[in-house]
Symmetry: C2
Subunit: 340 residues, 2 copies
DNA sequence: GCTTTAAATGACATCGATTGCGTAAAATAA
DNA sequence: TTATTTTACGCAATCGATGTCATTTAAAGC
């Protein structure tokens, strides 16, 4: 099955003109007489001519298309960020194509390369939890593909980055829990090598320190798959509650972990088991939970917008950009019943 | 900023061979001597040569890429369906690019055309709630672009379709509510012209009829934006409760409406206001709600898989397919506290 | 040693659109 | 009327890869 489309050649043949003339007529060139232009335009309209973007991409080496790679759509942070990106892209005349890495390094590499070689003009990416080797991105970046990182950034590649103040988010949340009187605050977090994991942990530790609460390493649990595998979260929880000093509060890093953790807690403990929850989450549904969830919410839409703006800046810049900045947004903590 | 990549020409120049020879060597043609092949392959590897897919698409008129258009990622049904699609596509050697229509007809048209003209080999689409005119799809379909519809199908275009038994889903849910003793079951649903809206309404009515409960038109509320605009759901609810006979249960059609409805109800009525809820939803979080939500759940992943399988069948079929079928999946109703 | 044949490679057109350069015809200037 | 400038268009190369056809070279056949 093939899909045929009208070409410049078809028009040229029909009107007894050369391809060049038709092309120029369509682009309203001054070299073409009004009469011919009219003729061409009318016929083009009649047969519903559209320039073949593939041919254009080949010729012009750009596609007016921007590639986005995120771990998962089902994570609200990412779907909201994508919405922000789309809003900017569309108003700037770019199209957007989106893929998910499913937190898999291999899938990420395939998606990134597929997009790059399909002539996206630039790439917005939040790396997968598995990604520790950045060669696939470095290679493209060195060859001049504009890349902007957001949220899960890659420190060692020098380009624009857009993040949330993860340190402060974790710090504020932990401080809130401390003020509420919780002493043994567990932190269930994502893979250790991730930059945001480190920042959040730092925020958590600093809040403890500032409040003179000793840091207890056993209260930190890493989920190497970022909570994608339910079992790892279950293991994390089990291991937390096996210890002599049991946590009275849990701070979770990441939408996925937050929402996977709750049913597990419900399953493992009776409902009256009093423990405080707080987590990073951009879900709109946490208000409906029992108890309603205190969350650290990131301005995902705005982060997406900023990242797209930066990317378009690079793409449209005449000369290579040397000085890159990292834009940081503030997260907000929203207090509900789960930390009362 | 431009992104340069090694080409066959580069290899040919370097090795003093013609482009044809290099091309053939890379494709391991029998016409090329082992020696030359080795030479070419080694150099190609060294400079990290990759065939330019744009050039290939132009030549071969296919891209090994499949386009997916959904209303929104944040709707779990769609993100799960996409996961199913991806799983099949990847194992069949296709890449996938995804766009959202945001329930906007205009955006849908732009996205569909962008993909078609960018040489996707086929299209999987669930139309936006606004879409009443199908010319953009008909046009492409007539020109031979393989299209498969899923969930929100277009009746009048003859191709493979994959749906859920919406009639039965609504019938079963309504029957459950009736059995639980509810008499005034409201139905808040999506735009009236949508096929699935009609089917769900039919299921609802049939259940009433089978149980000898009179159908009350004022209990039906349409949300023309599918719940995307909070206000329309609020208006729907307000208008339901303005009537003399107030509903004792609400059946909602669609993830969005379900999750938007609940906070509104909370806001409008006191918590002890006893009313039953049941809705179509594929969210994983409805168990955590207060009360936990009875839902009609669709096998989204399997629907996605089936749709992708059908599409690949069309793409890879040697002769045009004449006989199209519609694959129907069963939804399941999951009973929780909200209908007790 | 000359012809036949197979093996290995090159030249060129193609996909669709753009663009620099060349040129015929028409318009203007001399 | 001849020279010069415009106007309006065509030719051909280009982007990267493929494939048809032709050509070179070497090996085999007689």
């Amino acid at each position: 099955m093939k899909f045929e489309s009208a070409t410049i050649k078809d028009i040229a043949l029909k009107l007894n003109l050369s391809k060049s003339t038709v092309s120029r007529a369509l682009r309203d060139s001054y070299e073409i007489s009004e009469q011919t232009k009219k003729l061409v335009l009318e016929y083009a309209k009649k047969i519903n001519y559209r320039p073949n973007p593939i041919a254009l991409s080949l010729k012009e080496r750009r596609s007016h298309t921007i590639g986005i790679v995120v771990p998962e759509f089902s994570n609200n942070f990412f779907s909201q960020a994508i919405n922000g990106m789309e809003s900017i892209a569309y108003s700037s005349g770019y199209n957007v194509i989106i893929t998910q890495s499913h937190e898999s390094y291999d899938r990420e590499v395939i998606n990134v390369e597929h997009m790059a070689y399909r002539s996206v003009d630039g790439l917005l990416i939040s790396v997968s939890v598995e990604t520790e080797n950045y060669d696939h991105l470095k290679k493209l970046h060195e060859r001049g593909l504009p890349i902007v990182f957001f949220d899960r950034i890659v420190e060692e590649i020098d380009t624009y980055k857009v993040v949330c103040d993860n340190f402060k988010g974790a710090y504020d949340a932990t401080t809130h829990l401390i003020k509420k009187g919780f002493k043994n605050i567990a932190h269930i977090t994502s893979a250790e090598q991730m930059f945001i994991t480190q920042k959040r942990l730092e925020g958590y530790r600093k809040a403890l320190e500032d409040n003179k609460i000793p840091f207890q390493p056993h209260l930190i649990q890493y989920c190497v798959h970022g909570g994608k595998i339910t079992k790892e979260v279950e293991d994390a929880i089990t291991s937390l509650f096996k210890k002599k000093i049991k946590p009275d509060a849990i701070l979770s890093a990441g939408d996925r972990i937050t929402t996977v953790m709750l049913p597990i807690m419900k399953k493992l403990f009776s409902t009256d088991h009093k423990i405080a929850y707080m987590g990073f989450s951009n879900s709109d549904l946490t208000d409906l939970f029992c108890p309603s969830l205190s969350v650290i919410r990131q301005p995902a839409f705005e982060i997406g917008q900023a990242a797209m703006e930066q990317l378009i800046t690079i793409i449209e810049s005449k000369r290579p950009i040397k000085e890159f900045t990292t834009k940081t947004f503030e997260s907000s903590i929203i207090i509900k019943e789960s930390t009362n």
